[in-house]
Symmetry: C2
Amino acid sequence: MDYRKKLIVEPGTKIKLRDIDPAFHGKHATHEAALTDLQKEVARLTQLQYLLYAEKKHALLIVLQGIDAAGKDGTCWHVLTAMNPQGTTVTGFKQPSEEERAHDFLWRINRHTPALGQVGVFNRSHYEDVLVVRVHKLVPREVWSRRYTQINDFETRLVDHGTTIIKFFLYISPEEQLERFRQRLEDPHRQWKISDADYKERAYWDQYIAAYEDMLQKCSTSYAPWYVIPSNHKWFRNLAVSRIIADTLEDLGMKMPKPTVDLETIRQQYHAAATTASI
Amino acid sequence: MDYRKKLIVEPGTKIKLRDIDPAFHGKHATHEAALTDLQKEVARLTQLQYLLYAEKKHALLIVLQGIDAAGKDGTCWHVLTAMNPQGTTVTGFKQPSEEERAHDFLWRINRHTPALGQVGVFNRSHYEDVLVVRVHKLVPREVWSRRYTQINDFETRLVDHGTTIIKFFLYISPEEQLERFRQRLEDPHRQWKISDADYKERAYWDQYIAAYEDMLQKCSTSYAPWYVIPSNHKWFRNLAVSRIIADTLEDLGMKMPKPTVDLETIRQQYHAAATTASI
């Protein structure tokens, strides 16, 4: 299935998240049934990232957003273990530091955009400035409401430089979030992560959904589309995300660069070295 | 086998690389025979990095040096696929930029040291400033010869902050390097990487060995030891490196941090949320 067609937010359209089933899982019924496809996508990602790294004509920026426990960390790990770590960077954007707050909201983001040949993953991003910032009224409406255009302008600049931008909104149901909180609560290895705010934020669910819907409508563009990934099933989320990335990279028509040296000359150097007893 | 004991450069001792067999491979005869042990070390690394990330009391800096084709990239990949990419960064240090050259040699290095909770891998490092810089006489002897002390002072500061430093010199024979060049020459996916300098650098082999030996003697310290890793066999190199890292991390006695919240209160919040029909 072409998940790009199925899961894209068509530029300019208003979507209602309640019309999307966060438990959607495509044709496979279980993780086990999807394993072969998952491995296939991982292999494609490995090969395509190598091409991107070698060719150095494109950069790839992957943006991950989603409510707490939606699976941003897990998605990062899944996508990046397919790739050579030398060509990738993950940046997690938390509450801005004092220095970051003293600059415009895109200043800290701009410093972490991937260079040509590189893959950058943003675990949370500049979109927090129209999400948590809006929901908790950290800046007035006239400030955050101008940011959609500012974000689109910023992303246009990145695209003009050769960056491919793919944005994933990981969508889970409130029941699934609650279940994941419960698992965390009973897992001694993850209890340290639990914050008092986890449950308090749930009271803002509807406001978050409204903010997500506006973000998706206003910032899904032809050059930097948003995809809504049904994420109740982690394995489906991983499959959809990796296939969308692989399909997008494949469309770039990247080619292995030609050798910068004359291979015949190098072969002669090799034979000269190989026939020298001592080196 | 305790590879730390076997492969460490004892602080203050002068080592002769020619006394070390780059084809050493421990008790296993083949890659297949070593697979179980390799997987065991990967699992240890995964668990220990999670602890480091959770506890945030230590940072880990891994320094990789070695002649061209010694396997620095492959080692990076092997070690880092065991770890959550959110807690890791690889920095490749190439020829310094104009801005970097306008600063002291540790300026660019310092910007990439890992924060507490993070793992940083340096693919080449500040040691290039006593290696290639020395061999090709890019600065006078009185400049590079002072750098050993400056490096030790710098590393002391990192260690004082909570950084564990492990330095690996990946050691291959000239014959093995030649064989790897040959493979690269015949592999269409890697021909683009071939540089005219590859063979020219081989003429400096002995000078490099002398520079490596000085670096190992002067900068293997109790707080930031160098290990010489026999690297003709890639699988042995991976096994030795990952075991040394895991053993070193284990000695830190890291503990999962305690929850910052009262779990009973959170459980009540969970039950309150779970019994609310709508959210």
